[in-house]
């Protein structure tokens, strides 16, 4: 037997197909298809958790996604453990382990329960008022304490072993919700020929038909019709039917996010299956058929385990075959709860009373109750409940308080009526309007191309819902361009038309400020808290929400919003529309981080870009550093070498012999066209028309505000063709910057830009022996100083493949940069290395490159500049043409702030103690004894140990730096103050003779 509360013959599960699971260590039997909630109730377990603030015993309240109480820890194995899983959503699979949360030492005896006794101290706004002083105590004491005490579940510690899938999908019509309305709309749209996606959060279609017992559609029982229709839709080529799939977010321009739960219900899922699949749907039309959510009644001690929504009671009985109790009371303000009583009674469960706070319930349900012999107390309210860990009795009184009596029950079904689910409509930025007669917010002004149908649109009558849905489905299909097919006709009949409903506190929630009549179960917010908020001056619903935290839990107030609003409106003496509804945000229900992160983890988190020579570098034992998405060889340590040793050796070797360096990541842009030089004249501060083909020039690029944006060497290959290089990190933005000006400011120029960064592998060979190394490999290029002087470029062959050979240097040595088509990069590198190694040359990485260029005072844009330096500040004003009538930045350079004295300028720094290496980023002051806050003159931008200089060297930006040469300044550090002398930036080979070999 799968639980004492399982009713033989009731429900739709197959009794023979059982699954075993554990709850807090106790092994239980469920049926396949059970949710954790239905299985627990079948085993007569209602107590499943402790509340967030007061640690009050809590049970299962609903049977759906709106569940605020039954949040459990569900695990498949050690690594697959998830906290805060709604028991009403999670399906049972064989072998699953379920544990309750937020209790210690046990669920039945929870020490935190004393919070309930202390509750006068935990009034709304308690945290804001109490945990204020001292400020430092917040992080040290208060926050950790609150997090421990007021916890939800415990986060898993192991990496998630599952994988998640993602699909972009497009459709004509997306239908959200597969109840009567959604199924009918999807059918109409599909028959009209539209490409349809229909999704529903439940494991099967049917929506409200899953709990219903009295509806027929086309002569079939409602649920059967739904399954047949679902199967028919799934079989159509133009329909994608997704169950266990929640539409969690409605974003701009009909972009809707769905999460499909693929394996969470399976005992032994195929490892190849993703745990969840994220669908990013772009729909021409969206049809919202979200349905409605039942509200609970707000009265004293309405949160005891065993108190459930009436529709939940019906779902457990009619779908899962489980009675919520043996003696079930009903407390309602709406006719629908009567049907729960009828279903229970027909299943043989005792229903001692239906308490209806209305004087005039619907005639039809009253009649039926009489027929079934169920006592109905009209104009009565439940004013209190008893029962420690499970409801034991209700106290019922005539409205006004007279004639109170106790009635023993072991469960109570409640209903205050139905709240249309306008969540997705609201997320779409549609504006709701308040319907005063039915006291509900309904879709008002639409902001996006969608339609609401059925219960979420306030349509109550079944046939009206069907007709509305069929019309909407066809309309949406036609509007999306579908031209096919037949019209659909359906007729439906339900057992009872429902009336009634109330929002706000019922009798028994009391004006009494000590009564706990819960509105928001998940955040323990009571009716009195809303009143307190109003008394304390909160008049906007947004303020009341934040003061009380009503509706701010992970259920986003699906049950509580309307009650809270009504109580606030009453306390404020205003109408509900004047108080206003809070905004609904994505996601509709919580979604996993796995679904959001999806493929973006591990090696797919970000592209790891590797150069053509990467595998050689790896084989040589290079350490790599990240530069943007690139992996660049950082240094090549030999056995036993520290980074410092390796870099010092590489630096010496390059200057003494030669070094080979992978410069492939440098950005490269080919600028081609008759107006190429004219375009570069505008993009760089330098003049380009006088650069002869075969020669190169170092260029500075500014933004129009006058600040340095990028730099690089530009080679002219032909009159109409330039090979532009950019910084490694700057390549995409420089191309964007150039395209921007070319397309929008200088469109008359006949020139085109093409990124060639990845076309070329670049092998820099630098040092006194550079020419000797490459010479025998090169064909068709005269490498002599005369034919190929410093800053020139020639095309020819190396190792039999085409090359663009640059004579240039970022080290101050005789240097070449060998560009070859990328696929040849490694082979050419190896050929060069085969010559370089026997000569005593080394391979060097980016760290050595940085040191060598700093020895020469060459700046790195982005390290030595920070977007606020002009060419003059950076010491490269020689590169700014004085003759050109225009270039980007020409006017910005003349701005008053950019020409005034005292600007921060790049200078060299030499520590008085040559062995001390400054820290990059360290601040610089003139007077180390100045009281704090000290006057900061600037900071260190680059700092290294230079083995070639035999001392430390540094570059820094210093206010008025160029006028301070020779001055002593100070760098205050935590443990000492370092004295430095301001110098020029060239620390090695000041004459520059080595460049020319």
């Amino acid at each position: 037997m799968s639980g004492v509360n399982r009713i033989s013959g009731a429900g739709r599960l197959t009794p023979a197909r059982t699954a075993r699971f554990s709850f807090d260590g106790r092994t239980l039997t469920a049926l396949e298809g059970d949710t954790v909630a239905s299985a627990l109730i079948a085993n007569d377990i209602h107590l499943v958790g402790r509340s967030f603030k007061y640690h009050r015993p809590r049970g299962i309240l609903s049977a759906g996604a709106e569940e605020p109480n039954a949040l459990l820890d569900v695990s498949r194995d050690a690594a697959r453990r998830q906290p805060n899983v709604r028991a009403t959503v999670q399906e049972v699979f064989d072998g699953m382990k379920v544990a309750s949360q937020n209790r210690w030492p046990s669920l039945a005896f929870d020490v935190g329960g004393f919070n309930d006794l202390l509750s006068p101290f935990f009034a709304a706004g308690f945290y804001y008022k109490t945990f204020m002083w001292p400020k430092a105590a917040w992080h040290a004491l208060y926050e950790p304490f609150i997090r421990r005490a007021a916890g939800l579940g415990v986060a898993p510690t192991e990496p998630d072993p599952d994988h998640y899938a993602s699909r972009y999908a497009h459709c004509d019509v997306l239908v959200v919700g597969a109840g009567v309305a959604g199924l009918a709309a999807a059918l109409a749209a599909a028959k009209a020929g539209a490409k349809v996606i229909l999704c529903d959060e439940q494991p099967d279609v049917g929506g409200a038909l899953r709990y219903d017992s009295g509806t027929t559609i086309d002569g079939k029982p409602g649920y059967d019709w739904a399954q047949a229709t679902g199967q028919a839709l799934a079989a159509m080529d133009n329909v994608t039917l997704l169950t266990r799939t929640t539409a969690f977010g409605y974003y701009n321009h009909n972009f809707v996010g769905l999460v499909e739960r693929v394996t969470d219900h399976l005992a032994a899922p195929d490892k190849a299956l993703p745990r969840e699949r994220l669908w990013q749907v772009r729909a021409k039309k969206v049809v919202l058929a979200n349905g409605a959510i039942e509200r609970h009644m707000v009265f004293a001690n309405n949160d005891r385990p065993g108190i459930l929504l009436a529709s939940a009671g019906r779902t457990f009985l009619n779908h899962f075959g489980v009675a919520v109790g043996k003696k079930v009371g009903v407390y309602t303000a709406h006719d629908s709860a009567y049907e729960a009583a009828f279903d229970l009674r027909k299943a043989g469960v005792a229903v001692p009373v239906i308490v209806d706070c209305r004087e005039r319930p619907g005639e039809a349900v009253l009649e039926k109750a009489r027929e079934l012999g169920i006592e109905v107390l009209k104009g009565h309210s439940v004013v209190n409940t008893t029962g420690k860990l499970r409801i034991a009795s209700i106290t019922v009184a005539r409205n006004g308080g007279s004639g109170a009596r106790k009635i023993a029950v072991d469960a109570l079904l409640v209903s205050a009526g139905w709240t249309p689910s306008v969540h997705l409509f609201s997320q779409s930025r549609g504006k709701v309007k308040f319907d005063a007669e039915t006291e509900r917010f309904l879709p008002g002004t639409y902001a996006q191309d969608c339609l609401s149908i059925g219960a979420c649109n306030g349509t109550d009558d079944l046939q009206a819902t069907i007709d509305e849905a069929l019309a909407a489905g066809e309309l949406a299909a036609r509007a999306a361009g579908a031209e096919g097919g037949a019209q659909v006709a359906l007729t439906g009949q339900n057992a009872f038309d429902w009336t009634g409903g109330m929002i706000g506190a019922a009798e028994g929630a009391g004006p009494d400020t000590t009564v706990k009549a819960f509105i928001d179960f998940q955040h323990d917010v009571c009716a009195k808290d809303i009143r307190l908020a109003v008394r304390e001056g909160m008049h906007s619903v947004e303020h009341i929400k934040r003061f009380t935290t009503n509706g701010m839990a992970s259920d986003q107030g699906k049950l509580s919003n309307m009650h809270g609003l009504a109580i606030a409106a009453e306390a404020l003496g205003k109408g509900i529309p004047e108080v206003g509804l809070t905004t609904f945000r994505q996601p509709y229900t919580p979604i996993t981080f796995g679904a959001i992160v999806n493929h973006s983890r591990g090696s797919l988190f970000d592209p790891a870009r590797k150069t053509p020579m990467h595998s050689w570098e790896e084989a040589q034992g290079a350490e790599f550093e990240d530069v943007g998405n690139w992996k660049r060889a950082w240094f090549y340590p030999k056995a036993g070498e520290s980074m410092h040793d390796a870099v010092a050796r590489e630096c010496k070797t390059v200057r003494d012999v030669a070094g080979v360096f992978d410069a492939s990541t440098l950005g490269k842009i080919e600028v081609v066209g008759p107006d190429a030089a004219q375009f570069l004249n505008l993009m760089y501060t330098n003049a380009w028309d006088n650069l002869k083909p075969g020669r190169c020039r170092y260029g500075i690029m500014l933004r129009d505000d006058g600040f340095v944006y990028d730099d690089g060497v530009v080679g002219r290959l032909a009159e109409d063709r330039f090979h532009v290089t950019t910084t490694t990190g700057g390549a995409p933005r420089v191309l964007q910057h150039m395209e921007d000006y070319l397309q929008t400011e200088f469109p008359h120029l006949k020139v085109w830009l093409t990124s060639t960064t990845e076309q070329w592998a670049v092998i820099a060979v630098q040092g006194p022996k550079a020419r000797e190394i490459i010479a025998p490999l090169v064909e068709g290029i005269d490498l002599s100083n005369e034919a190929l002087p410093h800053m020139s470029v020639a095309e020819g062959k190396i190792c039999g493949v085409p090359t663009r050979l640059f004579r240039m240097s970022f080290t101050g040595e005789l240097g070449f940069e060998v560009n070859v088509p990328a696929d040849y990069g490694q082979a050419v590198w190896e050929a060069i290395w085969a010559r370089a190694e026997p000569m005593g040359a080394c391979a060097y990485g980016t760290e050595t490159m940085h040191v060598l260029r700093a020895e020469k005072g060459y700046i790195i844009v982005g390290q030595d500049t920070d977007g606020t330096l002009t060419p003059h500040d950076a010491g490269v004003s020689w590169a700014v043409s004085k003759k050109k009538p225009d270039f980007v930045g020409i006017r910005g350079l003349k701005r008053p702030d950019l020409v005034k004295d005292g600007r921060k300028q790049l200078v060299g720094l030499l520590t008085k103690d040559p062995k001390v290496v400054l820290e990059e980023g360290a601040q610089i002051v003139a007077d180390p004894n100045e009281p704090k806050p000290m006057t900061m003159l600037g900071h260190v931008t680059s700092s290294y140990w230079s083995s070639n200089c035999g001392r430390s060297i540094a570059m820094a930006v210093v206010a008025g730096g160029q006028a301070r040469l020779g001055q002593t300044l100070y760098v205050p550090m935590a443990d000492r103050t370092v004295a430095v002398e301001v110098s020029d930036m060239v620390f090695f080979d000041k004459e520059g003779g080595r460049l020319h070999g």
């Binding site: 993602s166 592209p607 081609v672 960064t757 990845e758 076309q759 490999l777 190792c799 082979a827």
Partner: protein
């Protein structure tokens, strides 16, 4: 020089095969490619010189034998020759004003083939790839996860997906996951 061996070519993803029964992933053989830019006036002369009619409608391509011209923008084409034939010289011989830049080594291509090819690519590409909107011969530069790609549909169930060479492992990896999901 004569005694020097000619450098050998090492292509990204060499020898790799992947995907699922729904979408097979195969790195394409090395090809010749140019990024071609030109105004409308130059189209006839360039088409004649290249032996393939440069398409002028968005999202369309033209092919003759192993040579394909893909419309990427109003003045931009990617010309691919699967046999590796020289394209720069051919474009230059047109005599028309244009920019041709050799990008043979910048790009590499992965062939995605099978009934799940669309789904595999849609794991990271936001475009609607249904046959109605992206028919055989359709092409587009677009985005695939965090990489830019150029997509060409060569058959109902086959796409040629071009990306920059350093993005190839990322693209192949994401496609592999998409192909796996397409099989389920």
């Amino acid at each position: 020089m004569a005694d020097q061996a000619i450098a050998t070519r090492k292509v990204p993803l060499a020898g790799l095969r992947g995907g699922s029964h729904a979408a097979v992933l195969t790195p394409a053989a090395p090809a010749a490619r140019i990024a071609l830019r030109a105004g409308k006036d130059a189209v006839p002369a360039l088409s004649a010189a290249l032996g393939v009619t440069l398409p002028t409608r968005p999202k369309t391509s033209a092919s003759t034998a192993k040579r394909h011209a893909l419309w990427l923008g109003p003045d931009e084409w990617l010309v691919i020759d699967e046999d590796g034939a020289e394209l720069m010289g051919a474009a230059a011989s047109s005599g028309a004003l244009h920019s041709a830049v050799d990008v043979s080594h910048r790009n590499m291509a992965i062939i995605v083939s099978g009934p799940g090819a669309e789904v595999a690519i849609n794991s990271g590409c936001p475009q609607d790839l249904s046959l109605g909107l992206f028919p055989v011969g359709a092409c587009s530069r677009t985005i695939f996860g965090k990489a830019e790609i150029v997509l060409l549909r060569t058959a109902e169930d086959t796409f040629r997906l071009e990306c920059w060479r350093s993005f190839a492992p990322f693209v192949f990896g994401l496609l592999s996951e998409g192909a796996e999901d397409a099989a389920h």
